[in-house]
Amino acid sequence: TEDYVFVKIAVEDFLLHDLYQLAAFADRQKNADRLKEGITVMLSLVELRCRPWLNGMELLEDLQRNKQTLSSGDKGVDSLLKGGFREGQLTELVGPSSSGKTQFCMQAAASVAEKHAGRVLYLDTGNSFSARRIAQFGSSSETSLGQKVISRISCHTVYDIYTMLEILQGLDVTLRSQVQTNVNEQRLRLLVVDSISSLITPILGGSGSQGRALMVAVGYMLKKLAHEHSIAILVTNHTVGAGGEGVKTKPALGETWKSIPHVRLMLSRDHKNSNCTISILKHTSMPSGQTVRTTIRKDNQQCV
């Protein structure tokens, strides 16, 4: 008769131990072969979990085939970002209050819905979403966006970070189970979170690790969604006082958050006129520091 050894171990335990030590330990036991078989099975399970290694050419192919560039709706920003927002990337827009961040987001949503015929998921944290305003962001100033285009944008009001995590997890499940028949037809292309800092700031208090761990978890979930489902993600952040020499304000959410977005843009507004300046704080394939001037679109006016 064979002895069955039931060992209650989780994959995490397995990953934390030295394989050679485990094998040596198994050797010392009575049923060394069975134990070693078990170790081999665990190793093959671990290998199944691993993602395959891709080489540079395969990465480029995935980029060119699946990750398109979406126009932001503003010509200046598009030329600054060499096309616009890239699917698969997380773009952050930083700016002080009433600098036009929400307008920027709504303009982007309208642009993706109209020009790229893509669905947009808009998570609004401050009750500032307005369907009437979005309709005015069409490419022609004469007519507003039609019903068909507006219906591609779905808006959810989110008041805390846990609701947002639920929505993101649900979105992941939905997108995984959908069968992609035609890649370009009505798929989700843009996810907007306006503003993500109002969801994260309440949990960041103190020096404990819980708040920052949750912030990092949200950041990685967004990046994973963006990469695996070829979605462009746009989030907004506010500014806080810098307290140092020279610079008066800096982006909120602290040092750890800086490593999360692919692209960080700074929006500043000249309140005397309706000029905005957008500058690149960080970009994965462009040097930072470049700026562009643009004008805020008022009601029924053309964008310069």
Binding site: C50, G56, A213, G244, T256
Partner: protein
């Protein structure tokens, strides 16, 4: 007696001469010069840590070092000066942009081509003087086949948490063996960036409900296992490890170029010893990782560089300083659209 004597003679004679041993060791464990980290020659088994606040062009440094590794030494008569080995890129930040790698590689190939075919280029130029296609020719004057073979030497995987990272490291040995059986050798293992899951692992430490027999998924355990797995890899294969590390604590007193100038004045007043002992940043990695690292570099942001050549208003400028081994010179570099330019080192 005769047998014993011949045995003794055989034992004294040795397996190989000193020359043979030296040539073998130098081949296996050769010194690598990887720009922009070329100030200190690296050997297989070295672990280099590049620290900097975000953004600090750390990934750009990795990309440039990767290009030096994947380029061949020579190809079609043109000297590229690379190692011709594979690069394994572990993306823990999940922000890697392959376009940037592609841009910088093409730029390097063009540069080498121009330098290699200097005389030919001048001749060509006179022949095609007023031809518009000359500009196009300059853009495509690199070997497409070489470009593809170099890009194929860059291997990439991303990990979204510590468990995925551990899984990847555990199966890495077999994957490297698979590659070696195809004839390619691995030169560098890159990790971008090593502190990415720090907060998540710290949270796991505080939530750990493990019993005495179980090893809990804590920060120290995870980092110890990572160090152990990489050590085993280094024993089996000759490769260099380069890891970037982003700062997670804000520096209250950021050390930039101005502070350094003041400190040199303070030397006269005897404050030099105190300044030297002050760590340049707040270390957060556990001691098992700190002890594992053999070379350390810190990247700081310096004053914006006003480039008159390209006509751009301001480009970000950074300084690269070797902390371990400590060098007295600091390299300045700027990141522009096509490449990363290393300017003259600043003597401090």
């Amino acid at each position: 007696m005769g047998e014993g004597a011949s045995e003794a003679r055989g034992w004294i004679r040795g397996d190989e001469t000193a020359k043979q041993m030296l040539s073998r060791v130098l081949k296996d464990r050769a010194f690598l010069l990887l720009p922009p980290l070329h100030r200190v020659p690296l050997r297989a088994g070295n672990v280099v840590e590049v620290t900097g606040a975000s953004p600090a062009a750390k990934t750009q440094i990795l990309i440039q070092a990767a290009i030096s590794c994947i380029l061949p030494k020579t190809w079609n008569g043109i000297h590229y000066g690379g190692l011709g080995k594979l690069v394994l890129f572990l993306d823990l930040d999940c922000r890697f942009d392959v376009l940037r790698l592609s841009q910088m590689l093409k730029h390097r190939l063009l540069q080498a081509n121009r330098l290699g075919n200097g005389a030919w280029w001048q001749l060509e130029e006179s022949n095609v003087r007023n031809c518009r296609s000359a500009h196009e020719k300059s853009n495509t004057a690199f070997d497409e086949e070489l470009y593809v073979s170099c890009m194929r030497r860059f291997l990439y995987v991303r990990c979204y948490d510590s468990l995925e990272l551990l899984s990847c490291l555990k199966t890495l040995h077999y994957r490297i063996r698979q590659q070696e059986s195809c004839g390619s050798q691995v030169g560098v293992l890159m990790i971008d960036s090593i502190g990415a899951f720090h907060w998540t692992d710290r949270l796991s430490s505080s939530l750990a409900m493990g019993s005495h027999n179980r090893k809990s998924l804590s920060l120290t355990n995870v980092v110890e296992t990572i160090v152990l797995e990489i050590k085993k890899l280094l024993q089996a294969h000759s490769l260099v490890v380069i890891a970037t590390k982003a700062l997670i604590y804000e520096e209250k007193y950021p050390t930039n170029e101005n502070n350094r100038k003041f400190s040199s004045n303070d030397e006269l007043s005897g404050n030099a010893a105190i300044k030297a002992q002050q760590p340049p940043f707040r270390e957060f990695m556990p001691s098992s990782w700190q002890a594992f690292v053999t070379h350390k570099i810190i990247i700081r942001k310096s004053a914006d560089h006003h480039s008159s050549q390209t006509g751009q208003e301001s480009l970000s400028a950074y300084s690269l300083e070797w902390l371990q081994p400590q060098l007295s010179s600091i390299d300045q570099f700027i990141v522009d659209d096509v490449s990363k330019n290393l300017s003259q080192p600043l003597q401090v």
